[in-house]
């Protein structure tokens, strides 16, 4: 698939910023997202190729401008909805509920 993810050889993306003493995860949500990926992958809800393909189907601007594990979130949501494991409606309802509770 030809898309924004195919970065090899592109110009203008800036210098490489290597972080000293980088932790494995930077945020708690990244930790949980990693675990969710492993659990749903192991649960047979999708394979690695489907997972990567769903990342490659992201809106290119969103892809380039979002943290790495947000790609995983997007892919997991997409594949679980497409596979009928969860519905978009119940996911959005759950987000709204948690948002309300957090306030």
């Amino acid at each position: 698939m030809n898309g924004a993810h195919d970065l090899g050889g592109m110009h203008g993306l800036g210098p490489v910023n290597a972080e000293a003493n980088e932790p494995v995860f930077h945020e708690e949500w990244e930790r949980r997202m990693f675990g969710l990926f492993i659990a749903t992958f192991a649960g047979g809800h999708f394979n690695v190729d489907q997972f990567r393909h769903a990342i490659e189907r992201m809106n290119p601007a969103h892809y380039l401008d979002s943290p790495y594990y947000e790609h995983w979130l997007h892919s997991c949501e997409t594949l679980l909805v497409e596979g009928g494991v969860i519905s978009r409606t119940e996911l959005e309802a759950r987000i709204a509920k948690l948002e309300k509770e957090a306030k």
């Binding site: 790495y68 969860i86 987000i95 948002e99």
Partner: protein
């Protein structure tokens, strides 16, 4: 890489992850304790210290090194490192003539059983785009000086095949044990964007920072 948009949309992303987990737990598809165990494994148990054992063994056991270069997956499994994202491994050997470095231009393919999860820079657009057109420039930014007479080979990983660099054994380490040698092997030296630590006390600033990182 520090993500410029970390603050504003992050809470939104964190919320979505929380919602997804809560929904999947409710449906009985995910066990939060299993998640905790997986996270703990990749945060505390699986990491570059595994790959360092492989490299140190290859430095001290020529028969093992031969097996490693012929069938890396099997040779790495001999030391007990197997599993997801390490199913098909290739080890590329640095020599005075050739310096190898590894990238995944399309995403983030990386040998998890030997190196753990990749650092952010490895998954970032700058590294993925530039490693293949300006490898020497990238190496320079990492503080790695490769002589002009040394060929630089860049290996682009994919979902099936993962690379590990076998760095050159530092000079003056002939008397060191395999355990001690493993302590010299840094993560970046196995990606090819770094060199192993040297034995000398006053190493370079880069070597010093890698020492702190361990």
């Amino acid at each position: 890489m520090v993500h410029p948009r970390h603050n504003a949309p992050l809470s939104d992303t964190a919320l979505r992850v929380k919602a997804l987990e809560s929904l999947l737990v409710e449906k009985g598809l995910v066990d939060p304790r299993a998640l905790d165990a997986v996270i703990d494994a990749y945060e505390n148990k699986i990491g570059p210290h595994n790959g360092a054992r492989v490299v140190a063994r290859a430095w001290t056991d020529s028969a093992y090194k031969r097996r490693l270069l012929e069938d890396a997956t099997a040779a790495i499994a001999e030391l007990g490192y197997t599993g997801v994202q390490g199913e098909d491994m290739v080890v590329v050997e640095n020599t005075p003539e050739v310096h190898n470095m590894v990238v995944c231009t399309l995403c983030s393919c990386y040998p998890w059983p030997t190196l753990g999860l990749p650092p952010n820079w490895y998954k970032s657009a700058p590294y993925r785009s530039r490693a293949v057109i300006d490898p020497r420039g990238v190496l320079h930014e990492f503080g790695v000086a490769v002589p002009d007479t040394t060929e630089v080979r860049v290996w682009d990983s994919n979902a099936e095949l993962r690379y590990l660099v076998l760095p050159l054994r530092p000079e003056g380490t002939e008397e060191m044990t395999e355990d001690e040698l493993a302590g010299l092997v840094t993560r970046d030296s196995m990606i090819g964007t770094g060199l192993p630590k040297t034995r000398s006390v006053g190493g370079s600033a880069k070597a010093e920072s890698q020492r702190r990182r361990k």
